[in-house]
């Protein structure tokens, strides 16, 4: 059974039709590559799944139950995690503070709960180690390299056992070694039965890890097929519009 099912999802911003009548379903433990030209609507689509935008039309189902999200917190409670394209980091906070942003650990009771720095540093440290990242929990994000920043954003998705992880260009600004690390992580997530949506402009990455590829063009889904049945040439054609739709 599909973990996530979108039916006729649309999103418009005023006159701009960012996502237009997209339906798709994703199975547990499946890696789906989501590709498309700039402005095709990829980020908008995953932001709806992550509770950042409400769809203008259409419905979403998670494990067969209708999913209506008002806030990103609710998506996380349902086991939906996202790495945002712009990473969504605060430079003036430590990496641990960024990892836990919006779901800080606290101790105490009632209105007297205070931040549990120790536990947050420790947990963030464990995740960075798991990611084989040189990132340290107490370092300010301001002074971090592009790869370390990416690790912080990815670490957020590992705070709790997710059902779906949405990655919006997680390999955009990192070194070859770290790309390998991220792809390895995606496979690990898949092996644990977690569904992954990978948005990327890098054809080799998608063909290396994805089971399926979905192509969007100007807000519409124009292809959805097994990676084994496709080829980089075909996907390129679909992205540019040289191939209308398959």
């Amino acid at each position: 059974m599909a973990v996530l099912e979108l039916t006729n999802i649309s999103k418009h911003f005023g006159a701009i039709q960012a996502v237009n009548d997209v339906s798709l379903s994703i199975e547990a433990g499946q890696v789906v590559g989501l590709m498309g030209d700039n402005g095709a609507g990829k980020s908008t689509l995953v932001k709806m799944i992550a509770g950042n935008f409400r769809p203008s039309h259409g419905t979403m189902h998670l494990d067969g139950l209708e999913l209506i999200l008002h806030r990103p917190v609710e998506a996380r409670q349902h086991g939906i995690e996202i790495v945002h394209q712009d990473l969504a980091l605060c430079n003036n906070l430590t990496s641990a503070a960024n990892v836990f942003l919006g779901r800080e650990l606290r101790h105490g009771f009632g209105p007297f709960r205070v931040l549990d720095y120790r536990r947050m540093y420790r947990r963030a440290g464990e995740i960075f180690r798991e990611l084989k990242s040189e990132t340290r929990p107490r370092d300010l994000v301001k002074q971090m390299s592009g790869g370390q920043r990416q690790a912080v954003a990815i670490a957020r998705t590992m705070l709790s056992e997710a059902k779906i992880v949405l990655m919006d260009e997680p390999t955009a600004s990192i070194s070859v070694r770290q790309v390998t690390e991220v792809l390895h992580l995606i496979r690990q997530l898949r092996d644990r039965g977690i569904a992954v949506v990978l948005i990327s402009h890098r054809m080799p990455d998608v063909f290396a890890v994805a089971d399926r590829v979905i192509v969007m063009r100007r807000g519409r889904k124009v292809a959805d097929k097994q990676i084994a049945a496709s080829s980089p040439e075909e996907v390129t054609g679909l992205i540019t519009g040289a191939i209308e739709r398959v």
Binding site: N52, C90, N91, L93, A97, L101, L115, G125, D139
Partner: protein, 335 residues
């Protein structure tokens, strides 16, 4: 390779800078040094600085600006500004005065005054957070509105009789209940500790910093940005209201021009103390230290017999100098 690799615990404990480097790199620290040096210098250069009476006056005078600077600092950390605090102080003082003058108890007067402050703060905050008004515009409007309301409430008269609880009010603001320290100073210390605690140890405080640095990221990660913004403008207005109540008790009279121009002093105190108007940076301690520097400058000019017209030049110079330190440090880091 093994040499540079930390063990797990080392990696978790490892900080980018030692505490010493952190202190030496902080603007607040250098402003504090300036306050101390100026005080030492004045103690030797004049007979009247280090007297009990003068120190009592200085510490008390600091408090009114300092208490509001605490609230202002929280607003500035979110990347906002509140220009209405001087007028809000006036309106809240007037509400207190008028209510007590009408024969109500001090408790009712204070509740009415604080209620007014919270209402104004909520009004500012809702316009800013939900209707996306620029903070500068909303609070500039409120600067005008609140003072006008104070004039309406009092019919532009001076109120100096506060009904049955008159003496209680004067004792609240003018007394020294603990170790001979002026009451306003005690309130300031308590409020500063509370503000510092909230900023460092609560989720609310963390969100305040997150919003100031990257509001978009805060929104994406599910921080309740709008509610927090409303809350910070309520805190700012409340700090002005509290300062107004204390100042009323100390002065023993309320006129419709108290607090005029105070917003600029308060913002100056916050900025001198290290708050960054671009958002994301600031401390409660800095607000107090900044206010102290301004007061020491004012006091010393008088004691040294320098024409009071120079006051603005010195305070303005202090603002630029304090921020200059910060710029120099940033330049060094970016090279």
């Amino acid at each position: 390779m093994a040499i540079t690799t930390d063990t797990f615990d080392e990696a978790i404990e490892r900080k980018q800078h030692s505490w010493l480097a952190t202190i030496l790199g902080s603007q607040t620290f250098w402003v504090l040094i300036a306050v101390i040096l100026a005080s030492v210098f004045l103690s030797f250069a004049t007979d009247s600085f280090a007297t009990t009476k003068n120190l009592y006056n200085i510490t008390r005078n600091v408090t009114f600006v300092a208490i509001i600077a605490l609230g202002m600092t929280v607003v500035i950390i979110t990347g906002g500004i509140d220009l209405s605090v001087g007028s809000v102080l006036c309106l809240c003082s007037m509400v207190l005065a008028v209510v007590m003058h009408a024969g109500h108890s001090i408790e009712v007067g204070i509740a009415a005054s604080m209620g007014t402050a919270l209402l104004i703060g909520a009004f500012n905050g809702i316009l800013i957070a939900y209707l996306n008004f620029p903070p500068f515009v909303v609070t500039l409007g409120m600067l005008s509105i609140a003072r006008s309301l104070a004039m309406v409430a009092s019919n532009n008269t001076v109120v100096f009789q506060f009904g049955p609880d008159h003496d209680k009010l004067l004792a609240l603001g003018g007394g020294a209940w603990f170790l001979g320290i002026a009451n306003p100073v005690l309130y300031m210390v308590v409020l500063a500790l509370m503000t510092g605690f909230v900023l460092r140890w609560t989720r609310f405080g963390r969100y305040v910093f997150a919003i100031g640095d990257n509001e978009h990221a805060a929104t994406l990660t599910g921080v309740p940005v709008r509610k927090i913004k409303v809350a910070v403008y309520m805190i700012s207005a409340l700090s002005a209201g509290i300062a107004g109540i204390i100042q009323t008790g100390w002065l023993g009279a309320v006129t419709t021009n108290i607090g005029a121009g105070m917003e600029l002093q308060v913002i100056a105190a916050a900025v001198i103390g290290g708050a960054d108007l671009a958002g994301g940076v600031g401390t409660a301690f800095g607000a107090i230290v900044g206010a102290a520097l301004i007061e020491v400058i004012r006091n010393s000019l008088g004691l040294l017999g320098i024409n009071a017209f120079w006051q603005g030049a010195f305070i303005g110079g202090a603002i630029v100098l304090a921020v200059l330190f910060d710029r120099i440090r940033n330049f060094q880091q970016s090279e």
